[in-house]
């Protein structure tokens, strides 16, 4: 098992190199010159030249890539064109906000998605099934950002229940230990801050979770329906096991195995969705920041962020495969190559 994990980690390297090449190509070869954007339209020719020289943009493209990749290996992703701060620092000041949002969202999506999926499968063709699947269908059909807008209009605008933007009331902001406000406020024992952070999280996390929840609900339903048709379910019933136990202990245990993969893949789509959700809710995370940086042609930041997100994504997939192996005793990694 360890050997397999190690092998998989080694296989991440070419993927990450590939990601860096693609991003590099898009940003540095095909994108327009960033100098006029960074320095403004009226910058003099010499100022532009000096700036390009200073940022290594006059080097041959291969040399630029070489500098980038050797820097990345030592943890140096360059500095932002604008703030002149190290990219890594820029990223890590915003990453916890995104992770916090994504983790809460995937938890919401998994819990409700699995719940709806299982009940829909068990009570197939019932009112609950039909309602659940209609909700799931609408969930995959609604633009995330529009759902966010609707939630704001209703819960912030009409009802005034929940805040529509930001992570926390700045007056309550806890000292930064982990960067996750929910955890930091608990560490500080500041329940007011915890509650406020939670209130700020509800709407963006719900908006972000909806799509994944819908996907998970649909996949869970079809997986459970298939599992419930299996011979071993009939065997369990033939043993005199109660129907509730048949579903919980036999069907769920098998039916949820493929769902682990679905949840892992959804985390990737959540990171994409975060770009939109963060924009709608002015969430100070990495998603909204990246959009801004792409538009400002802040190359070093964009490269760093995309690399990091891809890294998280492939790491999650690796984790999913490992969990899969624990859940399904039939899988043996010694024989299989990824």
């Amino acid at each position: 098992m360890l050997k397999y994990i190690f092998k998989r980690i080694l296989m991440l390297i070419p993927v990450l190199i590939g990601v860096s090449i693609i991003v590099f190509l898009i940003m540095r070869v095909f994108s327009p010159d960033p100098a006029p954007i960074v320095l403004g339209q009226h910058a003099t020719q010499t100022a532009v030249e000096v700036w390009r020289q200073a940022n290594g943009l006059n080097d041959p493209i291969f040399l630029q890539y070489y500098h980038f990749i050797t820097g990345a290996l030592t943890g140096d992703l360059g500095t932002s064109f604008y703030t002149k701060m190290p990219v890594l620092k820029e990223i890590f000041s915003r990453f916890p906000a995104t992770i916090e949002l994504a983790v809460v969202a995937i938890m919401l999506a998994s819990i409700f998605g699995i719940l709806i999926g299982v009940v829909s499968a068990v009570k197939k063709n019932s009112i609950f099934d039909n309602a659940g699947m209609l909700l799931a269908l609408v969930g995959v059909s609604m633009p995330i950002f529009w759902l966010g807008i609707l939630l704001i209009i209703f819960f912030s605008g009409t009802l005034h229940w929940l805040p529509s933007s930001g992570r926390i009331n700045p007056m309550l902001q806890p000292g930064s230990v982990t960067g996750f406000y929910l955890i930091d406020s608990l560490i500080a024992g500041n329940m007011d801050a915890f509650g406020d952070a939670l209130r700020h999280l509800v709407l963006p996390a719900s908006a972000l979770a909806m799509y994944s929840m819908a996907i998970i609900a649909r996949m869970t339903r079809s997986s459970m329906l298939e599992t419930l048709q299996q011979d071993y379910i009939r065997t369990a019933r033939a043993k005199g096991v109660s129907e509730g136990r048949v579903i919980r202990k036999h069907a769920l245990r098998n039916g949820l195995i493929p769902i682990v993969t679905v949840i892992g893949l959804q985390l990737g789509s959540l990171l994409g969705g975060a770009v939109l959700t963060e924009t709608v809710f002015s969430w100070p995370g990495i998603g909204s920041y990246t959009v801004a940086c792409i538009l400002k042609s802040d190359f070093p930041v964009v490269q760093g962020v995309v690399l990091l997100i891809a890294f998280v994504f492939v790491l999650v997939n690796l984790l999913v495969d490992v969990i899969y192996a624990f859940l399904d005793p039939r899988i043996k990694y010694s024989k299989k190559e990824g």
Partner: protein
């Protein structure tokens, strides 16, 4: 009908009885089953209706006639932010333009971008997948690694990056959205080809000395066409959503075109003062995406022999 002695399940026979004869072609068979699926028929009906609206708007534009209630791009600041009423069913926006006319006008862009983007990803994806699956070896490994790399970047982020490189605009949005979903098609086609490749009839065609391209197009693709149709239908809904997202971020279709995502993005500042400007375009996006999802799900069920029996 085959007598299956090895199976003890009497249900087999009952299922066989349910499914009496096999229509000649996969697509025809799909269509037959599709007609029985109410949800899919509803989806198809909505799509037909939207296509009709789009064609009517586009046609009248070419002829220089006005069939929409108002000129979708005519702005009259004295009439801005009129709440929905008998005259302006969906109200007017910040520039005093009629929302209903703009939403109807936007149908053609969403449909066009959706279909065109899928056409791009479909043609490139199918080609790459077919080459990878059929050739195997190093070609396969290379193509699929590139696809893996693309899949490990969230597609909306990749699309935004493409847009930053290509610049804003309708044509560029189509290309960006088309490019990012290539891997999905490549994967499906490659997977199916790998499983079909070993079939006897393909082997036979090879033995007779058919050219590779002929084998792919004549023998393999027809067998996986239904799978591709399903994927493409669902792909259109994703493409429409992505278009809206790019528009919302201000990267997509540029003014004066009315595009639903762009309308939402520009109206964001009025979320509390004029919420109706944010509700109707969203409903429009949801309906079109829903319609393609309904149709896609129906097609998938029609394709799946298991669900045909249930």
């Amino acid at each position: 009908m085959v007598k299956d002695v090895s199976s003890n399940s009497d249900e087999n026979l009952i299922q066989a009885a349910e499914y009496v004869e096999k229509p000649e072609s996969q697509l025809k068979e799909m269509w037959e089953t599709l007609k029985q699926n109410k949800a899919a028929v509803v989806g198809l009906f909505i799509i037909a209706l939207l296509a009709l609206i789009a064609l009517a708007v586009w046609g009248s534009e070419l002829l220089g006639k006005q069939i929409l209630p108002y000129d979708p791009n005519y702005s009259d600041m004295t009439k801005s932010f009129i709440w929905p009423n008998a005259e302006h069913w969906f109200g007017t926006d910040q520039l005093g333009r009629d929302m209903l006319s703009r939403i109807l006008d936007g149908t053609k862009i969403s449909l066009f971008v959706g279909v065109a983007a899928v056409a791009i990803s479909l043609s490139i994806g199918v080609m790459l997948g077919a080459i990878a699956g059929y050739r195997g070896g190093k070609t396969d490994a290379f193509i699929m690694r590139v696809m893996d790399v693309m899949l490990s970047i969230p597609s909306i982020l990749l699309a935004i990056a493409f847009m930053a490189a290509l610049g804003k605009g309708l044509d560029k949005a189509v290309i960006a959205i088309g490019l990012v979903s290539i891997p999905e098609y490549a994967r499906i086609v490659r997977g199916s080809i790998l499983s079909v490749k070993e079939n006897d009839y393909v082997q036979a065609a090879k033995v007779i000395g058919n050219k590779d391209s002929r084998i792919i197009f004549k023998h393999i693709l027809p067998n996986i066409i239904s799978l591709i149709v399903v994927r493409a239908t669902l792909g259109i809904s994703t493409a429409v959503l992505d278009t809206a997202a790019l528009g919302f971020l201000g990267l997509g279709v540029q003014p004066p075109y009315a595009e639903w995502g762009d309308m939402l993005g520009r109206a964001r500042g009025f979320i509390f003062t004029a919420p109706y400007t944010l509700i109707f375009p969203g409903i429009a996006i949801t309906i079109i995406v829903l319609a393609f999802n309904l149709l896609g799900d129906g097609l998938r069920d029609a394709l799946d022999p298991k669900s045909r029996i249930k």
